[in-house]
C-alpha cells in the first residue's frame, strides 16, 4: 500500500510519534486509496519550475506527503482542502520555512501538471491557504508563481471553470482581512491584465501605485509626528481614495486628476525619509475603513466652497471665519489649480478639503443652509480632529450646540413652530429645511446624521455598514440571493431590534439601528451595545513583547502592524486593540471577527457533533491578564457614555441605573458567547493539532490547557 511507503519514514516534525501506527490523520485518507502510488511512479511530474524538487522529495517526508495529498485533490473536496490548509498553517506556526516552501512548490507543480478539470480544487486550496493562513504565504511563498500559474491554468480550463476562477480572483481584491489585497495589487493586476486584457487601465495602475506611495509617506510622517493632525487627515483622505479606487467606480478623467494631485504630493514629500519599520498608523480595526482617524470625510465637503486651503499641508481654515481658528495655523500660500471637474465625486473634494490638493472656489459642493452659515472650525491638535466640532453658530436660534448633537434644538424648533392640524396652520409655508439639523452627511448615500460627536459616531457606524456591505456583496457575488419568507406576526411584534439582526452579525451597527433614538428605553441589543463591544475590544491591550522579533510581527489576521503607545498608568509601552492567544498576538477585533467566522463555519462543517463533548470541556486558554473580548468589566465601564450618547433628548434620566443594569445583563450572555466561541475555536484547533501529531493519547486533548500548552511547547522545541 502506498501508505506503507511513507509510513516507515520518520514523521515530519513529530519524532515522538515514530513508533505509532498509522494515525497520521491524512494517512487515513491515503489508506482508503490503496491504489495510490508513490509519487515518483504515479505521474510524470517534471515541472521545470521546481528544480530542487527531486532532491527535496527524498529528504522531506512532509513534502512528499503533501504532494501525495495534492494528487488526491482532484475534486472540490472540502475536507482535503481544509486539511491541507491546516497543514500549511502548521508550517507557518512552526516557522518552518522549508515546509512552507514545500507547500508552495508542490502546489505550483500540482496546479501546473493537473488535468484541466482538476486545477480548480488546487486553486481553491491555494485560495484557502492564502485567506486562512495569510502571511508569509501571501507575501513570500505564493506571489512568486501565482500569477503565471493562475494565468496558465485559466487558459487551460473550460468556460465554467474560468468563471469560477474569475470569481475567486475578484475575491482576492479584498480577500485579505480588512478588505486589503490578498497578494498585493501587482499579482492581481498582472493576472487581470492577462485574462481580461481590456479591463486593466494602466493609468489606474499608476494611480494605485502613486497612491500607495503617498499613503506610505503620509503614514510615515504621521508616525514620526503623531501630533500632526494634518497628516492624520491626509492619511484618512488617501485611505478613502484608495478604497474608492479599489471599489472601481472611478472614471478615467478622475483618475487623471488624482494622478496629478498625487504627483504633487509626491513632489512635496520628496526627500522625506521613509522609516522602514515605523509603526503603522492603522490603529483602526480592519472593519472600520475610515476609522477614528478620519471620521469627517463626508462633512468636510461643505467647507471647501469658500475655503482657500493651503496646498502645503497646513491646517485648513475657513476664510471668513478665521477668528475661530487657532493661532499656529497660518495660511501660507494659496495654490491655484485648475478646477477639478464636476463628476469627480467626493473624493477629490475630500482631498481638497484636507489640503492635499489646492482648491478653487468653483468646485461644486453639497452643503446645507445651516452649514453654509456655519463656520467649520478645525483645531490643530490631534484629539480635536476626531472630535472636531462643527460649530453650528449660524442656525436660526443662534445657539451653538457644542457637545450635543443638535437634536434637542431640532425638537425645540419643531415644538416652537407649533404647527397644528388645522388648515390654517397647514397651508402656511414654513421656512423649514428637513435636513438642516443633520450636518453629518454620508458621502456614499443620502443618509445624514446629527451634529456633534454623537452624530459622528452614528455616521461612522453607518460608514462601517457601507464598508461591510460592500465586502459582503463581494463575498456573495455569484451566490444567488433570494427573498426570505416573511416573519410570523409574533416575531415582528417582538422584533424591536429587527434591524440589528437583519443583515448579519457583522452589520451589528447597521444603518437602521444607528438611527434609533434612545428614548430612555432603547432596544435591547442596539447599535450602542455593539459599538460598546467593539470599543471594549479596541481598548484591550497587552504590553509590547520584549522579544524584538516577536514585536516586529504583524497581526497574523489582518497583517497590519501593531501600534505601540506609552501607557502612563502602566508605565509601559503597550499595543492597543491587541490580544494574545495561542502564543500569537493579534488585533482583538480581528480575532473576534475571525473567531466568529470560524465558529460559524465550524458549526456548519461539524454537524456530526462527534467532538462536541471535547470542545465543551476545553477551558479557555487566554492568559490571565489578557482582556477577553467582550469582558464584562470593560462593558460596564463603557456603558454610560454609550447610553447617554444614545439619548438625543439628553435629559439625565433617573432611570439610567435601571437601564444600565439591563444592559449589563445583556452584555453578559454575549460576552459569554464570545468566550465560549473562543474556547470552541481553541479546543477545535487543539483537537486538530492533537489528532495530527498525537497518536498515543486521546487523553492529551482532554487535559487542561496548561498541559496542552506545555505539550505544544515541547513539540516546538523538538521541531
Amino acid at each position: 500500500m502506498a501508505y506503507q511507503n511513507y509510513g516507515s519514514a520518520p514523521m515530519y516534525g513529530h519524532p515522538q510519534m515514530q513508533q505509532q501506527q498509522p494515525s497520521y490523520p491524512y494517512a487515513q485518507a491515503q489508506a482508503q486509496q490503496p491504489h495510490s502510488q508513490p509519487y515518483a511512479q504515479a505521474s510524470p511530474y517534471t515541472h521545470s519550475s521546481a528544480p530542487n524538487y527531486q532532491s527535496a522529495y527524498h529528504q522531506d517526508p512532509f513534502r512528499e506527503w503533501y504532494r501525495q495529498q495534492l494528487s488526491t485533490l482532484t475534486f472540490n473536496s472540502r475536507p482535503i482542502i481544509q486539511n491541507l490548509s491546516i497543514q500549511a498553517m502548521e508550517r507557518r506556526d512552526r516557522n518552518d520555512w522549508n515546509g512552507m516552501t514545500a507547500v508552495g512548490e508542490e502546489l505550483e507543480r500540482a496546479i501546473g501538471s493537473a488535468l484541466p478539470t482538476c486545477k480548480l480544487p488546487l486553486l481553491y486550496l491555494l485560495d484557502s491557504i492564502s485567506k486562512n493562513v495569510g502571511q508569509p504565504y501571501t507575501t513570500h511563498v505564493f506571489p512568486r508563481f501565482i500569477a503565471q500559474t493562475f494565468i496558465n491554468a485559466y487558459r487551460a480550463v473550460d468556460g465554467a471553470t474560468r468563471t469560477k476562477m474569475a470569481e475567486m480572483l475578484r475575491t482576492w481584491k479584498h480577500g485579505g482581512v480588512g478588505g486589503v489585497e490578498l497578494f498585493g495589487p501587482d499579482v492581481r493586476h498582472q493576472i487581470e491584465a492577462e485574462i481580461f486584457a481590456t479591463r486593466v487601465d494602466p493609468a489606474r495602475e499608476r494611480v494605485v501605485i502613486s497612491l500607495a506611495d503617498a499613503l506610505r509617506s503620509k503614514r510615515a510622517a504621521l508616525a514620526r509626528n503623531p501630533e500632526d493632525a494634518e497628516a492624520r487627515v491626509h492619511v484618512g483622505v488617501l485611505e478613502q481614495i484608495e478604497r474608492l479606487l479599489n471599489m472601481g467606480n472611478v472614471q478615467p478623467n478622475e483618475i487623471h486628476e488624482i494622478q496629478l494631485q498625487l504627483d504633487k504630493i509626491r513632489a512635496e514629500d520628496r526627500g522625506t525619509p521613509q522609516p522602514s519599520f515605523a509603526p503603522d498608523v492603522q490603529s483602526r480595526p480592519p472593519g472600520r475603513p475610515l476609522g477614528e482617524v478620519y471620521p469627517n470625510v463626508p462633512i468636510v465637503n461643505v467647507a471647501s466652497n469658500n475655503s482657500p486651503y493651503m496646498a502645503g499641508g497646513n491646517t485648513p481654515t475657513n476664510g471668513f471665519q478665521a477668528g475661530h481658528v487657532r493661532t499656529g495655523s497660518v495660511p501660507i500660500a494659496r495654490q491655484t489649480v485648475p478646477p477639478p471637474k464636476m463628476d469627480f465625486g467626493n473624493l477629490l473634494r475630500d482631498l481638497t478639503f484636507a489640503g492635499v490638493i489646492g482648491s478653487s472656489a468653483s468646485t461644486p459642493v453639497q452643503t446645507t443652509p445651516v452649514l453654509q452659515r456655519a463656520a467649520v472650525v478645525r483645531e490643530g491638535s490631534v484629539g480635536s480632529v476626531a472630535s472636531s466640532a462643527f460649530k453650528n453658530n449660524g442656525s436660526e436660534q443662534g445657539d451653538v450646540p457644542d457637545e450635543a448633537d443638535g437634536l434637542k434644538e431640532y425638537e425645540e424648533m419643531v415644538l416652537s413652530m407649533n404647527v397644528g392640524l388645522s388648515l390654517n396652520d397647514l397651508n402656511k409655508v414654513y421656512d423649514f429645511q428637513p435636513t438642516a439639523h443633520l450636518p453629518n452627511r454620508c458621502s456614499q448615500c443620502a443618509a445624514r446624521f446629527p451634529a456633534g460627536p454623537a452624530g459622528k459616531d452614528r455616521l461612522q457606524a453607518h460608514l462601517d455598514w457601507h464598508f461591510r456591505r460592500n465586502r459582503k456583496e463581494k463575498e456573495n457575488e455569484g451566490r444567488g440571493a433570494n427573498r426570505r419568507w416573511l416573519p410570523r406576526a409574533e416575531f415582528w411584534i417582538k422584533d424591536v431590534t429587527s434591524n440589528v439582526i437583519s443583515a448579519d452579525g457583522a452589520s451589528s451597527s447597521g444603518p437602521s439601528t444607528s438611527n434609533k433614538p434612545g428614548l430612555g428605553m432603547a432596544p435591547k441589543v442596539d447599535a450602542a451595545f455593539v459599538a460598546r463591544q467593539r470599543a471594549e475590544l479596541q481598548n484591550s491591550w497587552i504590553p509590547v513583547p520584549s522579544d524584538p522579533a516577536r514585536a516586529a510581527l504583524p497581526c497574523p489576521i489582518c497583517k497590519e502592524k501593531f501600534v505601540s503607545e506609552y501607557n502612563e498608568d502602566e508605565e509601559e509601552w503597550i499595543w492597543k486593540n491587541a490580544i494574545e492567544a495561542d502564543g500569537q498576538i493579534s488585533h482583538a477585533t480581528c480575532r473576534s471577527d475571525a473567531v466568529a467566522t470560524a465558529v460559524a463555519n465550524r458549526v456548519i462543517a461539524n454537524a456530526d457533533g462527534k467532538n462536541l463533548g471535547l470542545r465543551a470541556n476545553s477551558p479557555a486558554r487566554s492568559r490571565g491578564n489578557t482582556p477577553q473580548p467582550g469582558s464584562n468589566n470593560l462593558a460596564v465601564k463603557n456603558s454610560p457614555r454609550s447610553i447617554r450618547g444614545g439619548t438625543p433628548a439628553g435629559n439625565p434620566s433617573p432611570a439610567m441605573p435601571t437601564k444600565l443594569a439591563t444592559d449589563e445583563t445583556e452584555v453578559k450572555p454575549s460576552a459569554a458567547i464570545l468566550q465560549a466561541a473562543d474556547r470552541l475555536t481553541n479546543a477545535v484547533s487543539q483537537l486538530r493539532e492533537g489528532s495530527t501529531d498525537s497518536t498515543t493519547s486521546a487523553g492529551v486533548k482532554r487535559k487542561a490547557d496548561e498541559d496542552v500548552d506545555s505539550h505544544k511547547e515541547a513539540k516546538r522545541e523538538k521541531a
Binding site: 467606480n249 466652497n305 471637474k341 464636476m342 463628476d343 465625486g345 467626493n346 461644486p364 459642493v365 453639497q366 452643503t367 446645507t368 453654509q372 431640532y410 419643531v414 413652530m417 404647527v419 392640524l421 388648515l423 397647514l426 397651508n427 414654513y430 423649514f432 428637513p434 435636513t435 443633520l438 452627511r441 454620508c442 448615500c445 443620502a446 445624514r448 446624521f449 446629527p450 452624530g455 456583496e473 440571493a481 433570494n482 427573498r483 419568507w485 416573511l486 416573519p487 410570523r488 406576526a489 415582528w492 411584534i493 422584533d495 424591536v496 434591524n499 444603518p511 437602521s512 438611527n515 434609533k516 428614548l519 430612555g520 428605553m521 432596544p523 433628548a649 434620566s653 432611570a655 435601571t658
Partner: protein, 543 residues
C-alpha cells in the same frame, strides 16, 4: 463626462421637476447644486446618478434654488411651481410635534420613576399620530404617505413609524392582492414604481438603506376592491384581516416605544371613498370600512386628498371621536393612470417580489460617475410537488350547493369567510390555479377544526393510503369524489386572515402527473403546506 446627452435643469426655489417615463425609458438624475433636492422627500445623494426607470412618474422637488443634471431628456418632463410638497412638509411638522411630545411624555414618565410599571397602559399622551390618508384615484395618496414616511425616518430622530398598506392594488412591499404592515426605519428611494416603500428582507446583504423593511403580509385574494365580478373582494375577509393587522400593531406598540411614539401611516385603497363599500345587504352604515379601520388602529388624523365632499363627510363621521380631518390639495402633477399602466405595474410588483428590483438598464450602468445602489437580482426557486403536498383554499367561496340540495330539515349555515379546498383535479380549478398567486399560511394543530364530523377521519385515512397507493387508481377515486361532495376543510376559518409567510405562484398544473410546478421566493421546503388562493394571477414575461 461624456456630456453628449445630459441635460441640465435649473430649478427655482419651491419648484417641482415632474417627469413621466414611458415603458422601457430610463434616465438618471444628478444633483449639481448645493442645497438638498428631494424625490418624495428622500434627499437625492450628492454627486451620484440617481436612476429612474420602470415607468416611473414622479416629481423632484427643490425647496431652494438648485440644479439637476439628467442623463437624457425624458419624453415628458416639465417644471411647476405649484407643489404639494410644502403642504406635506407642514403636515409632517404637525405630526413631528406630536411625536416629540409623545417621546417627552415617555421620558418624563420614566424620570418619575414609573419605568415599566404599567407598560400595558398605552396612554394617549405617549402615542404618536395615527394617520389615515383617503382620496380618489390618482390623487397622490401614496405620494403623501411616502413623503410623510421619508420625512419621519429622515429626521434623525430615529422614528420608525408603522406603515399600513391597505390597497391590495398597489402593495407597498409585497404583491398585489396583499396588504401589509411594516416598520421602516430608513428613507425609501424612488427609482421605479415597484415596492414603493421598500422591499422585505432577502438573504443577500442589503444594498440600500431602505431594503430589508420588516414586513408582515396578509393575503386578501384580490387586487381590486370590487364588489362583483371575477376579482371580487371578500369584504368580510378584508375586515378580519384589518382586525388581525391591528392586533399585531397594538401588540408591537406595547413593547416598542419607538414605534409607539412614531405613530402610524395608513395608505388606503381608492375604493374606500365609496360610502357603501363593503356594506352587507341591509347595512345602512356609511363608510363602514373607514370607521372600522379608524377604530381598529385608533386613527386620530385623517387626511382627505382632493375631495371636499368626502372631507365634510369624514368630519361629520369622525370628529365625534376626536379625529382631526384635514383636506389636502391634490397635486396638479398627478397623472391619470390607465388600467394598462396599472396592470403593468402590478406584474412588475410580483416580479420584484420574486426576482428583486428591476435591473438597472445598461444605459444607466455605464454612466460616468457613481450610480446610486439598487437591489440586485434575486433568484426564486422553481420546483414541482405532488398535489397532495399543498392544500389550497379559497376564502368565501361563492358556489355552494343550494340549500335545497341538503337533506330535509338541515340548514346550511354558511360563513362568509369559510374555507373551500380547491381541488386541482376538478377542471374549472385548473384554470383557477394556473398562474395564480398563492399566499402561504402557517398552520399548527391548534388550527384544526374540532367540529368536523367523524366522516372526516375516514377521508384523512384515505389520503394516507393515497400517498402510497397507485396513482392511476387514485385518479379515478378522486374524480368520483368530486362529483359527490366538496371536501370539508380541516382547518378553522381563522387561517384565512392570518398573516402569510410568503407568496408563491403555480406556474403549471400537471394533471397527468398530479403535480404542481411552483415558483417560490426561497429555496428548500415550503414553510407550510397550506396556501390561500384568490384571483391574483401572474404570468412571467421577459422584458
Amino acid at each position: 463626462m461624456n456630456g453628449s446627452t445630459t441635460v441640465t435643469y435649473d430649478l427655482e426655489a419651491g419648484m417641482e421637476w415632474r417627469f413621466e417615463l414611458e415603458q422601457g425609458e430610463a434616465i438618471a438624475v444628478r444633483v449639481t447644486s448645493e442645497e438638498p433636492i428631494y424625490i418624495n422627500y428622500q434627499e437625492i445623494p450628492p454627486n451620484t446618478w440617481y436612476p429612474l426607470y420602470g415607468d416611473l412618474r414622479a416629481a423632484i422637488w427643490s425647496p431652494s434654488p438648485g440644479q439637476i443634471e439628467v442623463s437624457s431628456a425624458p419624453s415628458t418632463a416639465y417644471t411647476s411651481l405649484s407643489s404639494t410638497f410644502p403642504f406635506i412638509l407642514s403636515v409632517h411638522l404637525a405630526l413631528e410635534r406630536r411625536r416629540i411630545l409623545a417621546k417627552r411624555n415617555i421620558n418624563a414618565r420614566i424620570d418619575y420613576g414609573q419605568d415599566g410599571q404599567d407598560e400595558k397602559v398605552l396612554s394617549e399622551q405617549e402615542r404618536g399620530p395615527r394617520v389615515m390618508v383617503l382620496g380618489p384615484a390618482n390623487s397622490g395618496k401614496s405620494t403623501m404617505i411616502k413623503g410623510l414616511l421619508n420625512l419621519a425616518v429622515g429626521s434623525g430622530m430615529g422614528w420608525s413609524p408603522g406603515v399600513i398598506g391597505l390597497d391590495p392594488g398597489t402593495s407597498n412591499h409585497l404583491v398585489p392582492g396583499s396588504v401589509s404592515l411594516s416598520s421602516p426605519t430608513q428613507a425609501v428611494p424612488t427609482h421605479h414604481p415597484s415596492h414603493p416603500l421598500g422591499s422585505p428582507p432577502t438573504t443577500a446583504a442589503a444594498m440600500t438603506l431602505a431594503s430589508d423593511v420588516p414586513t408582515l403580509g396578509w393575503f386578501v385574494g384580490s387586487s381590486e376592491m370590487n364588489t362583483s365580478g371575477m376579482g371580487k373582494m371578500c369584504f368580510p375577509l378584508w375586515r378580519n384581516v384589518v382586525d388581525s393587522m391591528a392586533a399585531s400593531w397594538r401588540l408591537r406598540c406595547q413593547t416598542d416605544e419607538i414605534v409607539r411614539t412614531s405613530g402610524l401611516l395608513i395608505d388606503t385603497p381608492t375604493a374606500l371613498i365609496q360610502p357603501t363599500l363593503g356594506a352587507g345587504k341591509g347595512d345602512k352604515t356609511r363608510h363602514g370600512l373607514v370607521l372600522q379601520i379608524a377604530a381598529a388602529f385608533e386613527v386620530d388624523v385623517v387626511i382627505v386628498i382632493g375631495h371636499e365632499k368626502l372631507t365634510i363627510e369624514m368630519q361629520k363621521l369622525l370628529s365625534g371621536y376626536g379625529v382631526s380631518v384635514i383636506s389636502a390639495p391634490k397635486s396638479s402633477g398627478v397623472v391619470d393612470l390607465d388600467d394598462l399602466y396599472r396592470s403593468r405595474i402590478r406584474a412588475q410588483q410580483i416580479k420584484t417580489y420574486f426576482y428583486g428590483e428591476p435591473a438597472l438598464p445598461p444605459t444607466l450602468i455605464n454612466l460616468p460617475g457613481r450610480v446610486a445602489a439598487v437591489e440586485t437580482g434575486l433568484h426564486p426557486y422553481s420546483f414541482t410537488i405532488p398535489w397532495d403536498e399543498l392544500e389550497i383554499y379559497r376564502v368565501g367561496e361563492e358556489s355552494a350547493a343550494p340549500s335545497s340540495a341538503l337533506p330535509i330539515g338541515k340548514q346550511r349555515i354558511l360563513s362568509a369567510t369559510r374555507l373551500t379546498r380547491v381541488n386541482p383535479a376538478a377542471s374549472p380549478n385548473i384554470h383557477r390555479l394556473q398562474n395564480a398567486i398563492l399566499g402561504l399560511v402557517m398552520v399548527s394543530d391548534e388550527d384544526k377544526r374540532t367540529d368536523l364530523p367523524p366522516r372526516k377521519v375516514k377521508e384523512v385515512k384515505k389520503e394516507e393510503t393515497k400517498q402510497e397507493g397507485d396513482v392511476k387508481e387514485e385518479v379515478k377515486a378522486e374524480e368520483g369524489d368530486d362529483d359527490e361532495e366538496e371536501e370539508e376543510p380541516i382547518w378553522k376559518e381563522e387561517i384565512g386572515w392570518r398573516e402569510v409567510c410568503g407568496f408563491l405562484t403555480i406556474t403549471k398544473v400537471d394533471t397527468a402527473k398530479r403535480k404542481f410546478e411552483l415558483l417560490t421566493p426561497s429555496p428548500g421546503k415550503l414553510p407550510s403546506r397550506v396556501a390561500l388562493v384568490g384571483s391574483v394571477e401572474w404570468i412571467e414575461v421577459d422584458d
